[in-house]
């Protein structure tokens, strides 16, 4: 039987990396995107757990780069059907899984302007397992309706679409998305949090099953891999993140 650390021994980032790795199980090729240390960590953990069967591309990495034809190659993989999973965040995400990476207020003169849509308006259509990920679970992020659709959660039947939302992961919970009903449902709530807390902090309606399980924490062995190995691998691209979350590993290195 696995040895499980106490919940308060586990950092939120470590839990999120663990959940993301679980969601990638069975994938052959996955990639993380820009500004994505936790998804990048999840990919690297999933590769470790796959025993090397999974190919992982960490955008911006030298050690974990699989592209030899320039940055466009990632998008070519997606269109070729080779890329099994990718990650998208969003300043706003709404109940129909639409994502806004552009800003708040009237476009183009937004009141608050975010960086921009990156590859979302393409990859969301073509990657089967798009994992939505935010480190903030509040009503200002999870809104009834986004101000700008960087990329839509679902498409009309005539639109070529082999990909879309597969799961949503936040510091409070994990959700799934029903494409036909265009609606999220609660999958599990992380230890220390409640269904009420999730509902209070979500600005759209979600389906809640009668029994909502608690998210399974990483076991001791997984936590050791994250702290001793994944921490160093992710530090290559995200030194500031690694110094904040894994100070022990960074100091030892």
């Amino acid at each position: 039987m696995s040895d499980f650390p106490a919940p308060d021994e586990i950092r939120t980032e470590e839990l999120l990396i663990t959940i993301i790795a679980r969601l990638l199980e069975g994938c052959r090729l996955v990639s993380s995107g820009a500004s994505s240390p936790i998804p990048g960590g999840g990919c690297l953990l999933a590769r470790h757990q796959s025993g090397g069967a999974m190919q992982v591309n960490v955008l911006g990495s030298r050690a974990n780069n699989l592209m030899t034809n320039g940055g466009v190659e990632l998008f070519d993989w997606a269109a070729q059907g080779r890329l099994d999973a990718f990650f998208l965040g969003g300043g706003q995400i709404d109940g129909q899984a639409n994502i806004n990476l552009v800003g708040i207020g009237d476009y183009p003169q937004a009141k608050i302007r975010w960086p921009g849509s990156f590859g979302s308006a393409y990859l969301y259509y073509l990657v089967p397992r798009v994992i939505l990920f935010r480190e903030e679970h509040t009503r200002r992020v999870f809104v009834e309706k986004v101000d700008f659709i960087s990329t839509p959660g679902t498409s009309d039947p005539e639109v070529y679409r082999t990909g879309g939302p597969y799961a949503m992961v936040s510091p409070l919970c994990q959700m799934g998305f029903d494409k036909d009903r265009r609606k999220f449902h609660l999958v599990s709530v992380h230890p220390g949090h409640t269904v009420e807390e999730v509902l209070d902090n979500t600005g759209f309606e979600i389906d809640v099953p009668e029994h909502v399980p608690e998210t399974i924490l990483p076991d001791r062995a997984t936590l050791d891999v994250i702290r001793q190995q994944i921490s160093l691998e992710i530090a290559e691209c995200y030194p500031r993140f690694a110094a904040k979350v894994f100070p022990e590993a960074m100091n030892a290195a």
Binding site: G119, Y125, I149, P239
Partner: protein
């Protein structure tokens, strides 16, 4: 006669007229920051700036200096250092025209430019507000399908200048780019490529297979100049990391127009740059 190798980065910057259409790569490809500073010193105006596919400090600095009229990009961000302050301010006050895109759409437009064809079709985008706000993009029926199959068509992008920083060039103007193949697309689509390099080397990079496969041939190159630590304060390939302390101080300074102007006075028009970059 001025050869392909220029004596100074400022002499390269002088080639770029007001109103030029430029294309720049993402930070991991190699950013010509010293050339960017020279463009600000020259006071270039009304640029149409295309980013393949995103920009960071380079775009923020040019926008803050009033050099950019229109930007076509998939994102402007300083990455781990946060949002781009002068970009956000210029969007807020309406002084910058933005053509929001998605990364592969800019790649596709540049590839069409590289191939000399009028447009490139691309999946995705249908139903997004990115597409809804681009009246220069079209949706057409896939002519090879019997079923209803709409697909987006992106017009070719043909910039006047591609601007990059690379590790080395020879005196013929051949430039070593290594694995950064997007430079071939940028250079092919653009009328000419202006390059700064860490060093100018003897010999000919095209004569040896080991370097030739990763070399941008001089035929694409409009001018090259040596700029040691020319990407500073950004990271450059495996050569040097980002200057974190400087990036943090830039972000703080650029929060206000006055702070940004002080920054330019010190590190762009002033002489604090050489000491800081060492």
């Amino acid at each position: 006669m001025t050869g392909i190798v220029h004596d100074s980065v400022d002499s390269l910057a002088a080639l770029i007229p007001d109103g030029a259409k430029i294309v720049v790569p993402a930070d991991y490809t190699g950013i010509a920051m010293e050339l960017t500073r020279a463009m600000v010193r020259r006071g270039v105006r009304d640029l149409y700036m295309v980013c393949l596919p995103v920009t960071g400090l380079q775009g923020d600095m040019l926008i803050g200096a009033g050099a950019v009229k229109t930007i076509e990009t998939s994102a402007v961000t300083l990455g781990e250092f946060g949002g781009a302050p002068r970009f956000q301010a210029a969007i807020g006050d309406g002084s910058l025209k933005i053509k929001d895109a998605t990364c592969p759409a800019i790649h596709a437009g540049i590839q069409a430019g590289q191939k000399g064809i009028p447009y490139m079709p691309l999946r995705g985008m249908i139903g997004s507000d990115v597409l809804a706000n681009r009246d220069d993009w079209k949706v057409a029926q896939n002519p090879f399908s019997d079923e209803e199959d709409p697909i987006v068509l992106l017009p070719a992008i043909r910039p006047d200048f591609a601007l990059i920083h690379a590790k080395k060039a020879d005196r013929h103007g051949n430039v070593y780019i290594g694995i950064r193949r997007e430079v071939m697309a940028l250079a092919g689509a653009s009328r000419q490529t202006l390059v700064t390099v860490e060093e100018i080397v003897d010999g000919n990079l095209l004569r040896d297979d080991a370097t030739a496969a990763g070399t941008l041939p001089a035929l694409y190159v409009g001018g090259v100049a040596e700029a040691r630590k020319g990407a500073w304060p950004l990271a450059f390939w495996d050569e040097y990391p980002a200057d974190e302390a400087h990036m943090t101080s830039y972000v703080a300074a650029a929060r206000s127009p006055e702070g940004f102007q002080d920054y330019l006075d010190q590190f762009v028009t002033g002489d604090a740059r050489a000491a800081a970059a060492e």
